[in-house]
């Protein structure tokens, strides 16, 4: 009787615990899979089969048709779908990778270095930024406006900026970074649109990638900061004594140990840029549209086209699922075992 409640090793639950775990996991899996099942069967329905009430089992309750799949993949919408699919497939991974590289280095820096930016310097910088915006909106061409305010900035930095000796710390920098995500997209789309219009970057991959990298950076930095800080500093000290440079330590000691965190963060950021809707709506007009725009476009004047939408949503999650299945194995325990002892 007792062996039902006894576990053999730390991570292996007792038989009773395993049964309980399976029940809980099964219930949640069901809660997740049922909506997806509904999505799948809706994609095989036509408009009358959706309108006439709930039908649950294909062939038994209703006759499935490939109408919607044909419409999306080879029919009228196929050109749009495939182009937007390609765009999403390019923009999301590239921007996530860049964000991951920039974010992981910055996170490491925030954990292991100490920064003391002066309050005076920051205030002068903000002042000059406001100045440049005012100058440009008054009608000066933007290179001149930028150069003028940069000159003023350097001048003030050398004089007034030095007066205020108070400095901020790493936590303040981190908070500033995460605060960049606080404004809702509705408020930032117009300034971003104007910015890219001035730079002649509207409807380009560059614009989308830049936008996604900067909007995802804060999240990468915050998540990686915690993962990096769990890495024992002794390992880095050992490497340092052996003569490795900071870059070498980061590349050969920190990054390999942070792999579970890197993978989880990458997955999350990838999903974020994969699914982003509002910014893409503004930045792209035809050439670089992404798939979420196609989905939203299915809410036509005749009401939502549920079957087309379902097909598009399903098409959209397949690549991410494949990536998740490939990457999931790297989120596993044991990378640190024995590393600290020796």
């Amino acid at each position: 009787m007792r062996r039902w409640f006894q576990s053999k090793s730390i991570n292996t639950p007792s038989p009773a615990g395993a049964v309980l775990s399976y029940v809980v996991l099964g219930v949640w899996a069901l809660l997740i899979l049922f909506p997806l099942y509904w999505l799948i069967i809706t994609s095989f329905k036509n408009s009358s089969q959706v309108a006439e009430g709930p039908f649950y089992i294909p062939f038994a309750d209703f006759k499935p048709s490939l109408e919607a799949w044909r419409y999306i993949l080879v029919g009228d919408l196929s050109q749009d779908t495939l182009r937007n699919f390609g765009n999403t497939l390019l923009v999301a991974p590239v921007s996530s990778l860049i964000a991951l590289v920039l974010g992981a280095t910055a996170a490491y820096a925030l954990v292991r270095f100490e920064y003391r930016p002066r309050v005076g310097a920051i205030l002068t910088f903000i002042g000059c930024l406001v100045l440049s915006i005012v100058l440009i909106s008054v009608g000066l061409s933007w290179p001149i406006g930028l150069i003028v305010s940069a000159a003023v900035f350097i001048l003030l930095l050398q004089t007034i900026g030095r007066r205020f000796k108070r400095a901020l710390g790493n936590n303040d920098i981190a908070f500033w970074m995460i605060s960049q995500r606080m404004l809702p997209p509705v408020a930032v789309v117009i300034p971003i649109y104007i910015l890219f219009q001035r730079l002649h970057l509207l409807d380009t991959y560059t614009a989308l990638i830049i936008t996604y990298v900067t909007s995802n950076l804060p999240i990468v930095i915050w998540l990686m900061r915690d993962y990096v800080s769990t890495i024992p500093i002794e390992l880095e000290e050992c490497a340092s004594i052996d003569g490795a440079s900071r870059y070498r330590i980061f590349w050969s000691v920190v990054l390999p140990l942070a792999v579970p965190g890197l993978v989880a963060t990458f997955l999350f950021v990838l999903v974020f840029s994969w699914n982003e809707y509002l910014l893409a709506l503004f930045i792209s007009s035809a050439k670089v549209q992404t798939l979420p725009l196609t989905i939203a476009a299915q809410n036509a004047t005749r009401g939502p086209q549920w079957w087309n939408m379902s097909v598009l949503i399903l098409i959209m999650i397949i690549p991410v699922i494949v990536i998740a299945i490939i990457l999931e194995r790297y989120i596993t325990r044991g990378l640190l075992i024995g590393a600290v002892k020796g």
Binding site: A18, Y22, Y56, A109, Q180, T230, F250, A264
Partner: protein
């Protein structure tokens, strides 16, 4: 002879160390500057530009648009003018219960302030910060108690707070329990892990449409259940709390995976030796969780909650698609409020709502980072 030999040997070595130490000294900047510059390029400009827009009136003009500076007019409208009931809600007259709840909160805040003042280590900054905190929380409580009960109506600010805090609470609890279950060595755990990630991968607009299908009481899959309960003519659109619950369920369904995956990674990267040692010493599983696992995942949990706090304040797709903000304005979040103004080309008013959202998020994020996160992480 000897000296020249050592001299020749040392020279290149010294040069090398000089270069590498210079590079090492620069390492701090090299590591952080790319990220800072990227953020400055695209984040600071929209922030300042939309602040200006919120202080202006936006008009379509020939060849583009025109901004006229109107000062704080857009904000004034939000608090006292035509948008007042929309933003803050309709205030019911005070009753005994509202005074009781409000009084309790005020006393609590008073004790909090008094304890800080009586504690000998006070600073001006800390005092001002705590007074702002007390003031903010006090007025939020005043707003909530007068709009929640008898005759009041929630404004978009309170509705957003409900979404954020109820949503995050359930997401974290669910995410943590599921993560704890799937780090056990169970056959098939990789299947569960991938399945649990699925909701996060669907585009938010897609999730919203999917939940609209599912919550349809006459054609959705749960129609027989509604029929059995006699709710066939019941519509989410008619019941404020029903509609809010539906949206919350969608939100929890969609974002639990985020908590889940990050917590799984945190649990997996936790060293096993302390757990082994504790088991040898005879600790039970609750003690292991409380004293070893929980402290190890606490920092990452705090970050998770902060990120979700910031993201959840921006909820818009679910109310927009599922209920169109209805019944009335009962399910409208702040971002949706901004979006309505924006769609009506009231860009200035929209930016003002967005900035109020920014203040609210900053307020809670500050509390979170300065009080809760620091205290919990430091006491470890």
């Amino acid at each position: 002879m000897d000296t020249t030999a050592t001299h020749e040997e040392q020279q290149p070595v010294r040069l090398h160390t000089i270069i590498s130490s210079a590079a090492d000294r620069l390492a701090g900047s090299v590591f952080i500057l790319p990220a800072v510059l990227a953020l400055l390029f695209l984040s600071l400009f929209p922030l300042i530009a939309s602040l200006y827009v919120s202080l202006a009136k936006f008009d379509i003009a020939p060849g583009g648009f025109k901004l006229t500076f109107v000062g704080l007019n857009n904000y004034k409208k939000l608090f006292t003018g035509s948008e007042g009931t929309h933003f803050l809600g309709k205030f019911a007259p005070s009753t005994f219960i509202t005074w009781l709840v409000f009084g309790a909160v005020v006393i609590g805040l008073g004790i909090f302030l008094a304890r800080y003042v009586l504690n000998n280590r006070i600073s001006i900054g800390g005092l001002i910060g705590r007074m702002l905190l007390a003031l903010g929380l006090g007025s939020l409580t005043w707003m909530l108690v007068h709009t929640l009960w008898n005759g009041g109506r929630l404004g978009t600010a309170s509705i957003t707070l409900v979404y954020v805090f109820v949503g995050i609470f359930f997401q974290y609890i669910l995410g943590l329990s599921l993560a704890m279950l799937t780090v056990q060595r169970l056959p098939g755990r990789r299947f569960f892990r991938v399945v649990f990630l699925l909701p996060m991968m669907i585009t938010p607009v897609g999730v919203a449409y999917m939940f609209r299908m599912l919550t349809d009481t006459s054609k959705g899959p749960f129609t027989p259940i509604w029929q059995a309960l006699g709710l066939i003519n019941f519509s989410w659109v008619n019941n404020a709390w029903g509609a809010r619950t539906a949206i919350l369920i969608g939100d929890i369904w969609q974002w639990t995976p985020f908590m889940f995956i990050v917590l799984v990674a945190a649990l997996e990267s936790q060293p096993v030796e302390p757990v082994e040692a504790a088991t040898v010493d005879g600790a039970n599983s609750w003690q292991i969780f409380r004293h070893i696992t929980w402290p190890a995942i606490l920092p990452v949990s705090m970050t998770l909650m902060l990120i979700r706090l910031i993201e959840a304040f921006k909820i818009v797709d679910l109310p927009n698609v599922m209920t169109n903000g209805g019944p009335g304005t009962a399910t409208q979040s702040l971002t949706y409020h901004a979006y309505i103004n924006w769609r009506a080309l009231n860009i200035g008013a929209s930016a003002a709502v967005a900035y109020m959202l920014l203040f609210l998020v900053t307020f809670f994020a500050m509390i979170f980072v300065n009080l809760i996160r620091q205290r919990t992480v430091e006491t470890l």
